[in-house]
């Protein structure tokens, strides 16, 4: 027996709202980037939690394709939403997230984080985390496009995106971060502060893949 039109449309609505939900998760991940604490909180803190949920929402159809193998028939209804008010709700919510949250709210929040970076410098703190947060918030749309480009669409889509994201972080972001670590080390040397943690960080950031291989070899 075919499910009622309303139920099918509700499922379609939820699936189509997964995309705006992923974008909101990315905005929340950006906000968590500064609230969680130091650089180590990027992995294992709220930032990674929201990034994970963003990836789950992006790869939701791939995850749902696991259900038949558990013995639960979960055929995803295709096509558009037939019920008018549901289609309008989906369209309005998508527009709200795109035009209000991403285009304007995230930009305003990024501007506030730039201001926070200056205030943190006044307090004797470090401006870099707030600057990185501002950059992440400004780049939410590009990050979303990047994550979607990693989506293989199959049963393993979630782990494929996580793998690709790790490769992107290790191969693209970390070598650039090594440059920032060198800048920090030089400045710490001039101002008579410890430099060895930053020198070690530079070496580590330039050899992330090798350290991963080393760990797997040790197992």
């Amino acid at each position: 027996m075919a499910p009622p039109q309303l139920v099918s449309d509700f499922i379609r609505l939820l699936l189509l709202l997964a995309t705006p939900a992923a974008v909101i998760c990315l905005v929340l991940a950006g906000l968590s980037l500064r609230q969680s604490g130091g650089p180590t909180m990027v992995i294992g803190g709220n930032f990674s939690k929201w990034m994970f949920w963003a990836i789950v929402f992006i790869t939701l159809p791939g995850l749902l394709s696991w259900f038949p193998s558990f013995g639960v028939p979960a055929s995803i209804p295709g096509g558009g939403i037939g019920t008018g008010w549901m289609a309008n709700l989906q369209s309005d919510l998508t527009n709200f997230v795109q035009n209000f949250v991403v285009s304007r709210l995230a930009t305003s929040l990024a501007a506030f984080y730039v201001l926070r970076a200056i205030l943190e410098t006044v307090e004797g703190g470090h401006p870099l985390p707030s600057i990185i947060t501002a950059m992440f918030l400004l780049a939410v749309q590009t990050t979303f496009t990047l994550l979607r480009s990693y989506n293989s669409g199959g049963q393993y889509a979630t782990t494929d995106v996580l793998d690709s994201l790790w490769n992107y972080a290790a191969g693209t972001i970390c070598p650039i971060a090594a440059g920032l670590a060198i800048v920090g080390a030089v400045w710490n040397f001039a101002t008579r502060r410890p430099i060895m943690p930053l020198v070690g960080a530079t070496l580590g950031l330039l050899t992330v893949s090798a350290i991963w291989k080393l760990v797997t070899k040790m197992m």
Binding site: I176, A190, T216
Partner: protein, 155 residues
């Protein structure tokens, strides 16, 4: 607007625009500290100024240290450390030795006014430091020799 572009441009701006400018400030501080006779401070600012001008070069040096083996070779971490040690011991220390020979000669000739309580020993320390800098590999081999001789334990 992407995070990659943001971080890349931030790194370029910090390393190639801000740090050279701050390098000039470091040199200015070094001159002031030298004029005030703070010998233990001015060299730090002077070296800091030099390093500020060499951020890109230092990053390239670290990339060279970590690029001798494949990017996913498990031995890369050890090899990178080996390259750092090798560069420091065989490139930097000989240059440093030359500087200490020059400093020792200047102090021996009485050209620099050093008013510390061990001023007589200052030039000797510079010459001895230069010799030790030049024989750092030999010192390591000597230590290894002593340790290898002792593997049998005390009988």
């Amino acid at each position: 607007m992407s995070l990659y572009n943001g971080i890349l441009n931030l790194t370029n701006w910090a390393g190639n625009v801000i740090m050279p400018t701050l390098g000039a400030l470091c040199f200015a501080f070094a001159v002031i500290q030298f004029a005030r006779g703070y010998h233990h401070l001015y060299s730090n600012w002077a070296y800091g100024g030099l390093l500020c001008l060499m951020v890109s070069g230092l990053l390239r040096a670290f990339e060279r240290f970590t690029g001798q083996l494949g990017y996913n070779n498990p031995d890369l971490v050890w090899n990178a450390l080996l390259q750092v040690v090798d560069w420091f011991a065989n490139v930097i220390l000989p240059v440093y030795a030359g500087m200490h020979v020059a400093m020792g000669a200047l102090k021996f000739g009485g050209l620099l006014d050093v008013r510390s309580h061990h001023a007589q020993l200052d030039h000797t320390r510079h010459f001895l430091g230069a010799i030790l800098c030049l024989m750092i590999s030999g010192l390591l081999r000597l230590a290894e020799f002593f340790v290898s001789k002792g593997v049998g334990g005390v009988s």
